[in-house]
């Protein structure tokens, strides 16, 4: 793998090589049958979620409770983080603090070097994606094997994950078969999922057995115990950590919950929201290193305190990364995760990423119709669509609106604030539509017209009718 290409995919700002969401979505949709398949696959997950949550009569109260716990935690984050550190240290865990992605990556590289580690496995961690740990380690001559099946597939293909729970959801089994044929030597054209999974299992088993160091994410870190919980369906986090002598767990500062009993709220919400399962197959509790093992926790800020300081957006930090908002999002389902050009895509990504880089991610809050379905499925009740709307205002006020839009909106606001000008403009608009339809019926000048007819303009407006008929 050429790390430079990888970096390009990950890091390029908009206007360099990365396309804006709308452009990338346009490319994605060109393959309409594939778009339909992507949409239907994710809708199926949404429906499974619906069925699962309807089995829990107190579902809405549970969401309220989870939201309350997270709000409380965010308001007392410093205390809970220190308590967590104290308890983890007492358990014999080494705790590291990283202000940003670079520090996070350096800390991990240092642990690797100090211990002369060569073979590393990593289970799913969106934080390490956010910090671009893999390309960083490759640049420093260290190879990491992603052990989540979906992540391994995209890793082979030199692509970032397109979904935070289902990283390879943009790929069909034919694509996976081809990838495995190239990288694992499976039979060309054999698309049998069982055959392919077996090949991956054999391949990964080797990696697990040989691994010296295992990196995992953290779903929940419990302040009162200093322990943490990692949820997977494949058991790959456990396989990795059980075999390796060193375990590094990476977590954002917002992963803290105050007490172990709060797990009973979050574990019930997480898997039901994510995939419609009552609970993830493995919810592994890590409290202290085994005898002879090193356990490290890297606690990362990387923009989170900045977001915490934005009153309108702070509660985006309640997110437990279940991806329910992805699966329900009609835009995400039809544009694919890569069109969001960020580690965390989807609706939540569109309110987290502008915080990290407003300029590069100024398009994302607009990749939504503000339909509000995301906020309704969110197990921690983040008002995602409201924050999307608010980010739009912030981006405009900070000067990130495209010039053409600025001019158009200024003109529109002027016309609509002046009733008499509005009436003339309205008349002219209808006249143009009626008399000179070639001006508006133009697929290059008028995006509406590409796939939709214009409304038929009536001779008179309602106001004209009203004056004639009612007064």
């Amino acid at each position: 793998m050429d790390p430079r290409n990888f970096n390009k995919f990950y890091f390029a700002p908009i206007g360099a090589t990365t396309m804006s969401h709308s452009k990338a979505a346009g490319v994605f949709i060109q393959d309409e049958p594939r778009t339909d398949w992507h949409d239907e696959t994710l809708w199926f997950v949404r429906e499974k979620r619906d069925k699962a949550v309807r089995q829990v009569p107190e579902w809405e109260q549970l969401r309220e409770l989870a939201s309350g716990i997270k709000d409380h935690t965010l308001s007392n984050l410093d205390n809970y983080l220190s308590a967590f550190e104290k308890n983890a240290l007492a358990n014999g865990v080494k705790v590291h603090w990283a202000a940003d992605a670079a520090e996070h990556n350096d800390i991990i590289l240092q642990i690797i070097r100090e211990n002369n580690v060569l073979r590393i496995v990593k289970s799913k961690s969106m934080l390490t994606e956010e910090c671009h740990l893999n390309p960083f380690l490759i640049e420093h001559g260290v190879e990491v094997v992603d052990t989540d099946l979906g992540e391994r597939i995209v890793q082979f293909r030199n692509e970032p994950p397109s979904h935070i729970v289902l990283p390879a959801i943009h790929l069909k089994k034919q694509d996976v078969s081809q990838t495995f044929h190239e990288h694992l030597g499976t039979e060309a054209g054999n698309n049998d999922p069982q055959y392919l999974a077996e090949a991956a299992r054999i391949h990964l088993r080797d990696k697990f057995i040989q691994s010296q160091l295992a990196i995992t994410g953290v779903n929940f870190a419990v302040a009162e115990t200093g322990g943490f919980v990692v949820c997977t369906n494949e058991g790959n986090a456990d396989m990795g950590t059980h075999a390796a002598d060193i375990h590094i767990a990476c977590m954002g500062i917002e992963k803290i919950i105050p007490r172990a009993e709060h797990l009973s709220v979050f574990l019930r919400l997480l898997a039901r929201s994510a995939t419609g399962q009552p609970i993830t197959t493995y919810s592994s509790h890590f409290n202290r290193p085994r005898v002879g093992q090193q356990m490290h926790i890297v606690i990362v800020d990387n923009g989170r305190t900045k977001q915490l300081g934005r009153p309108d957006f702070r509660n985006s930090l309640k997110c437990i990364r279940c991806a329910a908002c992805f699966n329900t999002c009609p835009v995400y389902r039809r544009s694919g995760g890569h069109s969001y050009h960020t580690a965390v895509a989807g609706p939540i990504g569109s309110i987290l990423n502008p915080n990290l880089d407003m300029k590069a991610n100024a398009d994302l809050p607009f990749a939504s119709t503000l339909c509000g379905s995301c906020s309704n499925v969110c197990p921690v009740k983040i008002d995602i669509h409201v924050q999307l709307w608010k980010w739009r205002q912030v981006l405009t006020n900070e000067g990130y609106a495209p010039t053409g839009k600025k001019i158009a909106m200024g003109g529109m606001a002027f016309v609509l604030a002046h009733p008499s000008i509005y009436r003339i403009a309205g008349k002219m608009g209808r006249w143009v539509l009626r008399s000179l339809p070639f001006i508006t019926n133009n697929k290059t000048l008028n995006p509406w017209y590409k796939q939709r007819e214009m409304p038929t303009p009536p001779k008179q407006s309602f106001r004209d009718w009203y004056i004639k008929n009612k007064r």
């Binding site: 309704n376 405009t396 009536p458």
Partner: protein, 250 residues
């Protein structure tokens, strides 16, 4: 009861028949309807595009037009939601008065007028489009994401219409993809979402698609027409105001 009729700009210009139906319907239901002549727009197109800061002129004009009526009623869920959430004035008591007295048409009929029945006849197969802002914003109907009892104010009213057969698309409340300026800035996704909505209604063999928001209907109408479909879009006010003859076969 004096009702100020708020007709959003694009309805005024392109869909006067929806405004006429709304007015006639409210009059049938014994409201005194006034149409303030200098109204233009609620300012939503700017605000949803990130330019809420340009809305002052629109807001001022809105307050000037709609102060002094008992209720403000509009055949557009999304415009009503915008006013409810974002209207401001130098004198905030004026804007708050409007914000707390503005209603989308069907919620006004169900919640304020609370009429036991409506005399209307529309003998057709009609597909219900649930518009997001009316539904998730104004709570005109229950939402498929929530574990809560189901209800629908628009469907309740359509249930009073003689001869009408109401159908639901497979995904009962997925967004149609209009989304204000989203429809041009994210043209590809917007059109795809619209096509998908329309095809679910087609599968139900509907003659019409109806809803509480002209904007969604305009978007779907554009797609239907481009496809050469026979399905028409119609605003709920037009149905509730219609008295088509129902042929009774023995």
């Amino acid at each position: 009861m004096k009702v100020g009729l708020f007709i959003p700009c694009y309805i005024d210009q392109f869909y006067p028949q929806v405004a006429i139906a709304t007015m006639e319907l409210l009059e049938k239901l014994c409201c005194e309807v006034v149409f303030p002549l200098n109204q233009t727009c609620c300012g939503q197109p700017m605000a949803n595009s990130g330019f809420a800061n340009l809305d002052k002129g629109c807001d001022k004009n809105f307050v000037n037009n709609f102060s002094g009526v008992d209720y403000i009623v509009s055949p557009s869920g999304s415009c009503v939601l915008h006013v409810k959430e974002h209207l401001h004035d130098e004198d905030e008591s004026k804007s708050l008065q409007i914000r707390s007295h503005i209603y989308e048409l069907t919620e006004f009929i169900v919640d304020v007028l609370a009429v036991p029945n409506i005399t209307a006849a529309f003998p057709h197969r009609v597909g219900m489009h649930v518009s997001c802002h009316g539904q998730r914003g104004l709570h005109l109907s229950s939402m498929s994401e929530l574990v809560a009892p189901t209800f629908s104010k628009p469907a309740q009213l359509l249930g009073m219409v003689t001869g009408l057969v109401l159908t639901q698309p497979k995904r009962v409340d997925e967004c149609c993809g209009f989304g204000g300026t989203f429809c041009v800035f994210e043209e590809a996704v917007s059109a795809k979402m619209g096509k998908d909505r329309v095809s679910e209604h087609e599968a139900n063999n509907v003659e019409y698609i109806t809803g509480v928001d002209v904007s969604c209907l305009m978007h779907m109408e554009g797609i239907l027409k481009r496809q050469g479909s026979k399905i028409k879009t119609i605003h709920i006010a037009e149905i509730l105001n219609s008295m088509e003859a129902v042929t009774v076969s023995n």
